[in-house]
Every structure is written in structure tokens, then in C-alpha cells.
């Protein structure tokens, strides 16, 4: 290990313990780590935006490719920043209208063709794939229908509609349980990773030098 790597491991270990201190309770060490994380992540994000958007799409486009059309979105971008100046904040509406209006237009055909129709096609498959698959297909149809009814608020959820939406809620809960299980596992996996780092990279390799 080089000196730089050793310093890096100590730094990472210190920050890891700082963040772990929140398990005990909210304290100054955690707050320090939290604010440090905030500053670093924003600094990193600025770099990403600069190197991956501003340089290729604006600076290089104007300087190298002589594509002066990008001056228009750059100007609209400056309008967005003018939101910080109350007297001309209304100019940012032009930029938001351009962005949101454009994406609304892009979204309608894209979600219909890319998501809505394929999802419907997968749901409404014929019953010709054997007993087990047909039973699964019935469960899918039942679940999709009842979940859609659960989110349909134009009818009051009473009597038959209430009963159907209750079945939909049951399926939603199974889905949330699945998501919950996966989330717990992902977090536990991260926790194991942090302990491995502390025990192996920090204590074994840096302190004990094994």
C-alpha cells in the first residue's frame, strides 16, 4: 500500500464510523459527516454536469463544431438562473414551458407505444400454455384488474367495488412486501460491505499490516 492509499483508507474508515455513529443517536459527528457528504456530492455533480453536458454540448459545439444553435438553449438556461432575480424571474417560465411542453409531447406517444400497449399485450395473453401457466394467467388478470379498480376513484369504494379494491390492495401488499424484502436485503448487503471494509481494508491491512 502506498502512503496515499493508507491515508485514503483511514479517511474512509473515519467517515464510515462517523456515519455509523447515527445508530446511537443524532450527534455532531454524524452532522459533520452529513454536511461533508452534501458538499462533496454537490461538487461531484457540478463536475459531472460540466464535463458531460457543458463541455461537449455547449463549449465544444460552439468552438469546434461551430454549431451556434446551442446558443438558444444556453440562453433559455440563463433564463432559468434568472429565477434567483425576483424582478425578471418570470423569464424562467419560457424555459420551463419549452422543457415541460416538449417532454409532454414526447411522453404521450412514447408511453403509449413503449409501455402501455406492451403491458396490456402481456396481460391479455391467450390461455393456451398448459394448466399451470393458465392458472398464473388468471392470477395476473385478476391482480391487474383489481389493482386498477383500487386506483379508480371515480366510483365510491363500497359494496362490490369495495370488495374488488380490497382484493387489489391484497396484491399491492404482496408487491410492497416483495419490494420491502429486496430493500432490506440491499441495505444488509451494503452493511456487510462496510463491515468488510472496516475489518479487512482498515484493521487487517492498514493497522495490523497482515
Amino acid at each position: 500500500m502506498t502512503i496515499g492509499e493508507i491515508i485514503g483508507v483511514w479517511l474512509a474508515a473515519g467517515l464510515t464510523l462517523m456515519m455509523f455513529s447515527f445508530i446511537y443517536r443524532d450527534n455532531a459527528f454524524f452532522k459533520l459527516g452529513e454536511h461533508l457528504y452534501l458538499g462533496i456530492s454537490v461538487g461531484y455533480f457540478v463536475n459531472i454536469q460540466y464535463h458531460q453536458v457543458l463541455v461537449p454540448d455547449v463549449i465544444r459545439a460552439i468552438r469546434v463544431e461551430h454549431d451556434f444553435w446551442v446558443i438558444i438553449p444556453s440562453l433559455l438556461g440563463i433564463f432559468i438562473l434568472l429565477r434567483l432575480v425576483p424582478s425578471v424571474a418570470w423569464l424562467s417560465r419560457m424555459s420551463f414551458a419549452f422543457y415541460i411542453g416538449g417532454f409532454a409531447g414526447v411522453a404521450i406517444p412514447n408511453v403509449i407505444h413503449g409501455y402501455f400497449l406492451p403491458q396490456l399485450a402481456e396481460t391479455l395473453r391467450p390461455f393456451n400454455a398448459g394448466l399451470g401457466n393458465n392458472l398464473n394467467q388468471i392470477v395476473i388478470l385478476l391482480a391487474v384488474f383489481t389493482v386498477l379498480i383500487f386506483f379508480f376513484f371515480s366510483l365510491e369504494h363500497k359494496r362490490i367495488v369495495g370488495g374488488i379494491s380490497r382484493i387489489g390492495l391484497f396484491f399491492i401488499m404482496i408487491s410492497f412486501g416483495a419490494s420491502f424484502g429486496y430493500t432490506v436485503m440491499a441495505r444488509i448487503s451494503l452493511l456487510i460491505g462496510r463491515f468488510q471494509f472496516l475489518l479487512d481494508d482498515w484493521i487487517r491491512q492498514t493497522i495490523l499490516r497482515l
Binding site: 502512503i3 485514503g8 483508507v9 474512509a12 467517515l15 464510515t16 456515519m19 455509523f20 454536511h35 457528504y37 458538499g39 462533496i40 454537490v42 461538487g43 455533480f45 457540478v46 463536475n47 454536469q49 460540466y50 457543458l54 454540448d57 446551442v70 438553449p73 433559455l76 438556461g77 440563463i78 432559468i80 438562473l81 418570470w90 417560465r93 414551458a97 419549452f98 422543457y99 409532454a104 409531447g105 414526447v106 411522453a107 404521450i108 406517444p109 409501455y115 403491458q119 396481460t123 392470477v139 391482480a143 384488474f145 389493482v147 386498477l148 386506483f151 391484497f170 399491492i172 401488499m173 404482496i174 412486501g177 416483495a178 424484502g181 430493500t183 436485503m185 441495505r187 451494503l190 452493511l191
Partner: protein, 236 residues
Amino acid sequence: MLFFKRQWPIIIAFVMGIVMWARFYIPTEQSQTLQDEFMRWARILFGFAAMLGILSLLHHHWNKIKLKRPGFGFSVVTLVAFVIMALTGLLPVSWTWLGFADNLRSSNGPHMYLFEHMFVPMQATMFSVLAFFIASAAFRAFRARSIEATALLIAGCVIMIGRVPVGDWLASVTTVEMGSWGARSLINFPYVTDWLLNIPNAAAQRGIILGVILSQIAISVRIIFGIERTYMGGGD
């Protein structure tokens, strides 16, 4: 002036929406170029919008320091960390005297050094700490008080067991020979997990997604036709 402030943005949203919508049904090279160019412009706008958020955050912390509000020291940490992280990736100066590579964003550069030894461990730890809080939340949420809560509890537990080695182990030790059916496992968590994920979970997700898509279409139409105007913000 009021026209420019209130009507002009609605006209822009309408024109952009209709043009980008119609473009989908005109499969020509020019139409594809229009879409690509819009996406590029949108990327630039997103960059500026992100910059607005960052400026707003920095402004908040700067004010906190200026007015010496409680905890302003932490704001100093945020600003210093931001400046160091931003400059190490932006300033074209040599860092070789500190043992780093000259290329700012290479894996041996100072920017990536800070990223790997500060950003990554802090982020991973922050999310891993949630494991403890999820465990305590699970204890409260997973008490089977209704049929729906029971469904959540069972699905969550089955999936957790089915996706770890103990699930495979249970399936293997409970495998018995069942005549013409062959060897079958009596407690097969991995199989049940797959079924839960691929059938009821996928179907419920599909129902939710279909609802979201319909809402997205509705809100897009409202934006294009000027019914939905929340993006304009308040004021005149």
C-alpha cells in the same frame, strides 16, 4: 408585458408539445433529428436547472454562515467540501506535487481520490445504516394486524429467505422422492419467491404502471393545452 409573462409560456408549451407529439407519427430522418436536437437542448436546460438548485443550496448555507445561525459551522464544512470537490475536477492545475496524476478526472487524480475515499464510503454507510432503521420499522409494520399486513409480512419474509443461501439449504434438506413426480422439495423458498415475484408482484406492479401511464398521458395533455400551469410558479 402581462402577455409575455402569462400567455407566452402557455403558447410555447403548446407548440412544443404538439410538435414533439406529431413528430412521433412522421418517421423521417428530419423528424428523428428534431427529437435528437430537442433531447440535446433539454440536457443543456437540465444542466442549468441543476445549477439553479446548487446555487440555491449554496445561497442557503452562505446565509446561515452570514447570520451565524445555530449550526453554521456545519454549513462552512458543506461549502468547503463543495469548493474542494468542484475545484479538483475543474481547475486545470498540476497536482503531481501531491502525488496525483495530472489528468484531473483520471482514477489517479485528486477528484477521483476524494470520490473513492470520501463520497463512496459515506454514501454506502448512510444507506447501510438504514438497515437498522428498516429492522425496527419492520418490527412495527410486520405485526400481522390485518389480512393485508399479513400478506406484506409473508411476502417480505419469503422473499428474504428465498434469496439467501439458507433458502437453498432448506429446499435441499427437505427434498423427498415422490414417486412418479420425482424428487420434490417440501419447503422450497426459492421456487415460491420466483412465483411471488413473477406472478402476483409483477401483476400488481403492472396494474400500478398502467395507472401511472394513464395519469402521465392525462397530465401531458393538460400541460399541452394549458390547463396544468403549475410549472409557471406563482406571482404575475
